[in-house]
């Protein structure tokens, strides 16, 4: 953990707020207020919080799809102003191109991005590698609508990876899957991320979820958010050993951490549920 604290941040959120203004009514919503957070190289950070607390808003700002109303978002010390291939995103609804096959979806970034495009031969090797990595071999020529939910998820994941980003942003990527598939993909995600690699060689991952178990299982640190407006309440270190396997979920350390997080957000989770009724 010492190494984690000393390193210069890969991504730095410095006092960011985001206010949405509805164009027609002029109504203002403060989605997130004064969020500061440093994420270091090779870290797996999970953000949990009740729905509507601004998790996607934060992720979109790191992706460069939205700008903060106040504060700065920086990567390697340089402010983020636009999307770029060094930050890959896996969206909750996967956003696969329906007119492209699995293969064509995965090679989309390396083929069409503005900088450092790859030639056909290199691309072929790269795409094949990632298709194998996410176990989509044999489905290369299928269209997204011919795939199961889990396969679509893996395709979206491979599309992001094949662009070889330094930072991977994932917005509730497993939320639409059934429970068994989700558990399997969590383990697979850790394997692909490279749990055994030294920290410097891992990708930095920011992973949004509302599953507390999921966050504890995956993360090095869990940022717990609160609502109205969205703030970061606590950042918890998850000092569970890696590589992590299914059996970890049954241990008392795991349960204790999960329960601690649940206690932090339960009041707000109740409020959010009752608000919406």
């Amino acid at each position: 953990m010492e190494a984690l604290d000393q390193a210069a941040p890969k991504i730095r959120l410095d006092g960011i707020s985001k206010e949405y203004i509805v164009p027609r009514t002029g109504q203002r919503t403060l989605a997130i207020a004064d969020v500061s957070l440093d994420i270091v190289q090779g870290e797996f950070l999970c953000i949990v919080g009740p729905s509507g607390c601004g998790k996607s808003t934060i992720l979109n700002m790191i992706a460069g799809l939205a700008e903060p109303s106040a504060g700065t978002v920086a990567m390697d010390g340089a402010p983020i102003r636009a999307p770029g291939s060094e930050r890959g995103v896996v969206f909750q609804d996967y956003a696969l191109f329906p007119w492209k096959t699995v293969r064509e979806n995965i090679e989309f970034g390396p083929r069409f991005r503005s900088d450092a495009r790859l030639g056909a031969a290199e691309r072929d090797k790269l795409v094949r590698h990632y298709i194998d990595l996410v176990s989509l071999t044999g489905a290369e020529h299928k269209y997204p609508h011919e795939l199961s939910g889990g396969m679509r998820q893996r395709c979206a994941f491979a599309r992001a990876l094949a662009n070889e980003p330094e930072v991977l942003l994932m917005d509730e990527p497993f939320a639409a899957l059934d429970a068994q598939t989700r558990l399997i993909l969590q383990e697979e995600l850790l394997r692909i991320w490279g749990e055994d690699l030294p920290r410097a060689e891992r990708k930095t991952v920011i992973f949004i979820t509302h599953g507390i178990d999921e966050a504890v299982f995956l993360a090095d640190r869990v940022a717990v958010m609160s609502n109205h407006p969205g703030r970061i309440k606590t950042v918890m270190d998850i000092d569970l050993p890696r590589p992590r396997r299914e059996s970890l979920r049954a241990t008392s350390e795991f349960q204790t951490l999960a329960d601690e997080i649940w206690q932090l957000i339960r009041r707000e989770a109740y409020e959010a549920t009752i608000d919406r009724r």
């Binding site: 291939s85 890959g88 989309f108 991005r113």
Partner: protein, 283 residues
Amino acid sequence: MTARDENGAAVAPGGATPYWPTPLAARIYASIGGLFVYVRAMAVFLVIWHLVSLWIGNPILLPSPIAAAEALVDLTRQGEVFSNVVASLTRLGTSFALAILLGVPLGFAMGLSRNVFAMVDPLIELLRPISGIAWIPLGMFILGVGEALPTAIMFYGAFFPIVINTVVGVRSVNPGLVQAARVLGVGRAHIVRHVIWPAALPNILVGARLGAGAGWMAMVAAELIGAPSGLGFAVEWYRELLMTPSVLAFVFLIGLLGYLFDRLLRWLQRVLTPWAQTQGGAL
């Protein structure tokens, strides 16, 4: 126990139904069934037509379907059908190609840029409700009787559905797909070419089908008075000669060719946008 049985059946559905027809056989049965429904509907229609023609008893007002069919065979044999069909189809081809070549880029520009839309849309909304037929008298002054008039009127009919559906197609592209391309570091030009264009294509093809239909309908009106050849011209020609069976033969051809052209475009939809078909997108 039951749950396990259900589970087993769900996992391996192939083994449970060995006598289920193969996809090919199923398709043949389905198309024979479809043909039967079609023939039955046509037979009812022809019988009623025949009875009504007997009741009216005047072959100039309404000849029997047999007389009309004979006329069609005669006209085909004499080759007269072909020159008119070629004339009309050439005009359809020219006007439709022009409407696509101008309408799709314009619709794209309007869909992508608010400024272009604000500039062009009022004009389009003003012209669109005016039927192409309303322009025929003026067109005869300016263009005279010949190729130009029916082609221009057909273009007018085809143009607006194509533009409007292209605008709708470009505007209704899922923003999530554009974002997905942006976060991969893909630039604007490639996004337009590889995301917005394919995403808008199903709507553009719907516009093309509507445009072709509108153009084909406008054609008959334009050829009735403004052309020296073509299917509409032939209808009017035989009307003046009081040869009603031939009139009906050409009317039938207008319907048949319009239908076939639409089938062609539908086939194009299936080939060009297979993903939209399976999602039940296009008509």
